[in-house]
């Protein structure tokens, strides 16, 4: 379904200078960016990117397009309000922050595993339909349930702790927290892609029937992938509730569910950097398109942007970047492409499921 990039080592020391530059930029960013840019743009992009990363992991590596990743993140956000402290007077069990965080993430991972157990026996469009149905059902459930989820209103007053003398919702500490978590999961997905589990997951994507014939339990492999995706999305959900300070059904609404899909697709699913590119583009559009057009038209703009990217660069911004890059380094790239063309004259029939 989606080809995955493999790490190239054509750079001195094996480090792509663009990666080094990006790392320096990301670390230095709060030094020159305003609070608004650090928090509303920077940290928020990192959070949405991390949620979309969990979808990229499932879809890009596992061939499973789950629309319920926002639901999983939202569930973690709700658990933070329910188990920890909130200012609404409903639930708020007052657990210590670290226990609340751990249980919220594990709870989200379990929900993700459960969704996986339902969806993993389906493929392609049916996975999309089932996970969308679950996401919609969850939205209506939290909106109507007042005992636990406080219905339409949801919860407010959810705060990160003050630790090491820092209040972690201040823009700069929060940005670094989001950056550290995003970088951790980004590197974990990148490394894990070539682990035994990761190779197995890509094999499941390429050809589930053959995977079974190698002695691997495809269903188990899939739901374990959902578990890990749940850890990623759940952790991002904790950040999201600290970022917003509140959580209500809107966070798990169909709009948000689709936004995550748009971010992942627009960014590109071929590598774990894709969802972060998509998230930056999305957050910039969300914040600045409004200066040019009405709030109501925002979804139209997002929809158009989505359409343009899918039409002109099916592998997203990532693919667009690769094409520009290969134009710049023309001589080397075309030499490589020439070799590929010679070898690529025979195409495998192996990707079909039947026979």
């Amino acid at each position: 379904m989606f080809g995955i990039e493999r790490n190239s080592s054509r750079y001195p020391l094996g480090i792509n200078p663009a990666v080094l530059l990006a790392a320096v930029f990301l670390i230095a960013y709060p030094l020159f960016a305003s609070d608004f840019f650090t928090f509303q743009i920077g940290a928020y992009s990192l959070i949405l990117g991390t949620i979309a990363l969990s979808l990229t992991m499932l879809a890009g590596y596992g061939g499973m397009v789950s629309l319920a990743q926002m639901t999983v993140a939202g569930f973690a956000a709700y658990l933070m309000a329910i188990l920890g402290t909130n200012s609404v007077g409903v639930m708020g069990l007052g657990w210590p922050w670290w226990l609340t965080v751990v249980i919220a993430i594990l709870g989200a991972a379990l929900l993700s595993t459960f969704i996986g157990a339902i969806a993993a026996r389906t493929e392609g469009i049916y996975t999309i339909m089932i996970t969308l149905a679950i996401a919609v059902a969850f939205f209506y459930f939290v909106r109507q349930n007042y005992q636990i989820f406080n219905g339409f209103t949801g919860f407010a007053g959810i705060k990160p702790p003050t630790l090491f003398g820092l209040y972690w919702r201040d823009p700069t500490p929060f940005y670094y927290l989001a950056l550290a978590i995003a970088a951790f999961f980004f590197l974990a997905v990148r490394y894990g892609a070539r682990s035994t589990f990761g190779l197995g997951l890509q094999a499941v994507r390429d050809n589930p029937r053959r995977v079974r014939a190698l002695g691997i339990n495809v269903f188990l492999h899939r739901i374990v992938a959902y578990f890990y995706a749940g850890i990623i999305a759940g952790t991002a959900g904790v950040l999201l509730v600290w970022f917003n300070g509140r959580v209500s059904p809107g966070i798990v609404g169909v709009d948000m569910v689709i936004d995550i899909l748009v971010i992942a697709v627009v960014g590109g699913m071929r590598a774990p950097i894709g969802p972060f590119l998509g998230a930056i583009a999305f957050v910039l559009l969300e914040n600045f398109a409004i200066d040019l057009i009405d709030r109501e038209r925002f979804n139209t703009v997002i929809g158009l942007a989505f359409l343009l990217v899918v039409l002109f660069s099916p592998d997203g911004l990532l693919g667009l970047w690769r094409r520009i890059e290969s134009k710049i380094r023309l001589p080397r790239a075309s030499a490589r492409l020439g070799v590929r063309a010679n070898r690529g004259d025979w195409h495998p029939a192996g990707s079909s499921e039947r026979m």
């Binding site: 682990s195 589990f197 190779l199 014939a213 339990n217 495998p348």
Partner: protein, 269 residues
Amino acid sequence: MNEPGTAVPRSALPQAGQFALELNSVSRHFGALVAMADIDMTVHAGERRAVLGSNGAGKTTLFNAITGDYPPTSGRVRLFGEDVTYLPVHERIRRGLRRTYQISLLFSGLTVIENIFLACRGVGRGRHSLLRPRRDDGAMEMAETLLHAVHLDDRRDTPVAELSHGQQRQLEVALALSGAPRLILFDEPAAGLSPSERADLVDILQSLPPHVGFILIEHDMDVALRVAERVTMMHNGRIFKQGTPDEIESDPEVQELYLGHGDNGGGRA
């Protein structure tokens, strides 16, 4: 049913460990189509068997029933003495069954060595390991050995999508040799191979250790009769004849149906 006169000596303990495979009136229907009907068949441990028959005779369906890819609609399948009729595919593989596919089924997004490595890990421990395999990992060492055995050393890190047809067929064979196989099902492994690749394949088949049995579907009589101890002929989803290669070759009915008409002759009568 019972097939006396095979090369395998009778053990002092009757039955125990004697058969790698026992099929008991196995049938497979696809809707109204009867692809395979009432197959009774036994294969001794370590036996080398060829299955012949025209296109559509039900040979691949037979393999699919044995592995569970498409489980039988009726009948029972026993592997190494154990009833596996209701076991999923991966459980049968873990018990020592292997197969190749008539149309290569490979992981086109992964490299050659990654394909073989997965096959070795699939039948061993650590399928869910989050660590990258090291060079001295047991499964990785086995994968390197298999890579060499099928002459793909120089394509080690090539994505499978870039392999030639013949190389993909060789990779199919490598995947089926992973771990400690006890019974391997080869579905037309020589199809589309060059003469020298064919010779390599026959070499591999002949150099398998004696306890490893296999069933080989093959249209090329030269290949099939050279490596097989016994031959099963299928026709219209049923077993039509069984015997030694000599018996089959000289059987007048077989000659009339198949040998006189070339590889794909016969058809569905």
